[in-house]
Amino acid sequence: MDLSILLILLQDGIVNGAVYALVALCLVLVFAVTRIILIPQGEFVSFAALTYAVLDTGVAPASLYLLCGLGAAAFLRSCWTRRGSELLWLALETLILPAIVTLITIWLAPLHLGVAVQAILAIAITAPLAPYLYRLAYQPLAEASVLVLLIASVGAHLALGGIGLLVFGPEGSRGPAFTSAIFHLGDQTISGQSLWIVALTAASLTGLYLFFEFTLLGAALRATAVNRLGARLVGIRTSQSGLIAFTLAGLLGALSGVLIAPLTTIYYDGGFLIGLKGFVAAIIGALASTPIAVVAALGVGVVESFSSFWASAFKEVIVFTLIIPVLLWRSLRHQTTEDEE
């Protein structure tokens, strides 16, 4: 292996790692605030990517049905437990918003307005799925154990996977690149799309940092993560925090989908493996530490890239076994005498 191969692999690993980082970040965020291990995060990624690819063909994507359907279902489920005063806001979020997005998409889709518009539409169609899913599946379970929430996640993942197959079909798609520019750096070539990925990931990380550090809402989310009872005692509604966390997860998941769509072929179920790798990173970050999770995600990308060079047949084995020593090291450092939940 020479230096140029090494650099290409490194670059490849970092680009993939950046997408894992976004996924890992969402998993960390959602787990910290709600104790939910969000297995369906991968679905947001693949749905956004496929929606983006369909929009490029000038057709309104079938995922609009999903958006409206899930919105309506969330409306009904929330009505069940809600007081009347909040219904208006609820309807705005779960009924009016999807309707508007649908109308705009039907209007804009055939016009071929370029990748930026398509990207924004794809995110607008996919991101709201996350908060709807929260209302539908998780909110009624807010006080359940981590295990029960996990199984609920499995259920949501199964259902969304089935819907994905129905909506997008079994074959994959690729989206158009944001730019076809290619930069040369010595004998290395760097595609413009890779730079977009790294830049937008970095921008999202910065944006999240600013949100969490400098806004009261961000602080409220962190507070929910640190101490749920404490948060409730100052009047932070934990279900509201959960909704915000899911919204962020939906936005970032959809963004990662749009980012990765031009780089590779995405399938209706392809998000699961991306999600699992984001998971590996999130676990290494022990579902609590964002910076560690981001670094770990980049690490997972790089390890994956190198092991696909050295021993492609054992790539997944290597990537997934890798976390065991890390977990061990962490658990040895944080010895607790506390009882199991």
């Binding site: 379970l141 359940a144 154990s145 199984i151 259920g155 089935g162 084995v317 997934f320 076994t321 009882d339």
Partner: protein, 583 residues
């Protein structure tokens, strides 16, 4: 009639599939349910009762299935000999994986097993030894007296018997000395460790046991399916077993069968009914199944079995009359000497240079305001927490820094300020946990019910201690249904089961009525007279001042006064710190 249930069950296992009019496919479904239920039974013990979530059960099933498949196809070994091989393979795999992974707690463990599951799946698909992705086919069927088990009806009998054996063994295990240790893992591991339970071993036991059951299922699977490949041992399969367990009711053995049955039947029926409802255009099964799963959890977060049977009837225990051997009565002299004991938590000094001593046959009260470091001192003296500095001597021997089980072995028993009784166990089962070290039956003896004599003796001891503290008539009640004060007394009975030479009681009188307090004081006096050394933390001044010969007063982790009650009560520093001065 009840006594004949095993016979009835066996008749059912043989006869049910041949029932006239029973569609053959139901038998096939029954087989599928049976195999899944065996895996789920292991998960009930591991996850529902032991509190450890595993995403790798299908992988362990794979170890068992591949072991027997390789032996019988490549080496022509009889499938029956494949059974011990399968159990051994999955057991050893669990032992190895557990050794690396079981140190992880809670969701880290869950995700660690998830990682194993994914990586083992790809390993199965890559290794030539196990036939890579195509797997191994042409596995010979089981044979008995020339009859091949190829018909699903014959298989049913075999699976039903295996499932019954699994349930029977699991029930026995839970009802044994080690089973109680596993049951105490969830919410009671600190208490269990304080009575000498090796928590790491109990966790490993549950892990390996569940894996061995999965290996049994894998063995059945291999010889009935007669072809194995990685897919049935992948992450999705593991997740399915886990969700069967949770849906059925993770904490009860019948939940495993219920969950497996529901999931298999619902999946099958959906396949038939949904096309009628929605047409053949798409595959809606998985969507509807996912939605159903979420809905069921929303309406029954602890699974469905608890909705069916509100509470399983308390297990009857044989109360033996043979007394357990007792510890030699300690020689008079200092039972406990503490000097310069120190513990910091972060920036907070919880205990600072605590020094005092306690003789056999003596009762000392440790008093001080809330947060003065009394409970931390207890944890330091019982090995739950390790001190930063200082020494603890027990009957002259340096025991500083020993673990909780080691301290228990030396005869140190305790109760807890926040009562730590296992909610899923009855009063007497909690109490008998205290006698853990006085038995020595192995888990295997427990599974095969070879521990009955010892169990009877242990329960006899527990009953005697319950009688001693006056709670014998509540022995079979669920522990947490008692009033808080009574729960404290249960903790004392549990401590007495250890046959301790040093007894540490944290606020034993809190929540007791006047008469109960007097009875307790009487009991403690009697225990001291028998040779026990007793250290009490107590807020009830009337109680402690009448009982203790000496009081040690703590504030901010240090001893601020020591002496006979009458003296302490006049000490200005004590009045200032504890008894409260006007603001």
């Amino acid at each position: 009639m009840i006594r004949f249930w095993p016979v009835l069950v066996i008749i059912a296992a043989f006869g049910l599939p041949w029932l006239p009019g029973l569609p053959l496919f139901w038998v096939t479904l029954g087989n599928e349910i049976g195999i899944a239920a065996i895996v789920a039974t292991g998960l009930v013990i591991l996850t529902g009762i032991g509190g450890m979530t595993s995403f790798a059960q299908a992988s362990f099933m794979g170890f068992g299935a591949y072991a027997t498949a390789i032996l019988s196809t490549r080496y022509g070994v009889s499938p029956w000999l494949g059974l011990p091989a399968a159990l051994l393979a999955s057991g050893i795999a669990a032992l190895a994986i557990g050794a690396i992974t079981l140190r992880l707690r809670a969701h880290y463990l869950a995700l660690g097993t998830l990682a194993w599951s994914v990586s083992l799946y790809y390993l199965f698909g890559t290794l030539d030894l196990v036939g890579r992705n195509d797997g191994i086919s042409s596995i010979p069927p089981l044979q008995l007296a020339g009859v091949k088990f190829v018909d699903v009806r014959q298989s049913f009998t075999l699976i039903a018997l295996a499932l019954l054996a699994s349930l029977w063994a699991s029930r026995n295990l839970l009802d044994s000395r080690w089973g109680r240790a596993i049951r105490a893992l969830r919410g009671g591991s600190v208490a269990a460790a304080s009575f000498g339970v090796n928590i790491a071993a109990a966790r490993m036991l549950a892990f390996v046991y569940a894996a061995v059951l999965a290996g049994l299922a894998g063995w059945l699977f291999a010889h009935l399916q007669r072809a194995v490949n990685p897919t049935p041992f992948g992450l999705n399969a593991s997740i399915e077993y886990l969700l069967m367990t949770v849906i059925g009711g993770a904490a009860q053995l019948p939940g495993a069968l219920l969950g497996a049955g529901l999931v298999v039947i619902v999946n099958d029926r959906l396949q038939d009914w949904l096309p009628l409802l929605l047409g053949h255009a798409g595959n809606f099964e998985v969507i509807v199944f996912g939605l159903l799963l979420v809905l069921v959890l929303q309406f029954a977060p602890s699974g469905l079995w608890p909705l069916i049977a509100r509470r399983t009837a308390a297990t009857r225990h044989t109360i033996g009359t043979i007394a357990l051997p007792k510890r030699a009565t300690p020689a008079p002299g200092p039972a406990l000497e503490v000097s310069g004991l120190r513990k910091r938590f972060g920036g907070l000094v919880a205990v600072a240079d605590l020094t005092f001593s306690l003789s056999a046959r003596e009762i000392i009260g440790l008093i001080g305001p809330n947060g003065a470091g009394k409970s931390t001192s207890f944890n330091l003296l019982t090995g739950v927490t390790k001190p930063d500095a200082g020494t603890v001597r027990l009957a002259g021997r340096d025991v500083t820094g020993l673990s909780a089980p080691a301290m228990a072995r030396l005869g140190v028993a305790r109760s807890f300020q926040h009562v730590k009784l296992a909610a899923s166990m009855s009063v007497i089962e909690n109490v008998v946990l205290g006698a853990h070290l006085r038995g020595n039956a192995s888990p295997i003896a427990g599974v095969f019910r070879q521990d009955r004599a010892e169990e009877a003796a242990l329960f006899g001891e527990a009953m005697r201690q319950l009688e001693r503290v006056g709670l014998a008539e509540l022995a079979d009640r669920p522990a947490t249904s008692l009033a808080l004060g009574q729960q404290r007394i249960v903790e004392i009975a549990r401590a007495l089961c250890l046959d301790p030479s040093l007894l540490l009681l944290d606020e034993p009188a809190a929540g007791l009525r006047h008469a109960e307090k007097q009875a307790l004081a009487e009991l403690l006096r009697k225990l001291a007279a028998e040779g026990m050394a007793i250290l009490l933390v107590e807020h009830d001044m009337e109680f402690v001042m009448n009982l203790a010969a000496r009081l040690v007063v703590m504030d901010f982790g240090t001893r601020i006064a020591e002496g006979p009650p009458a003296e302490v009560r006049r000490n200005p520093a004590v009045i200032e710190a504890y008894l409260g001065s006007a603001a």
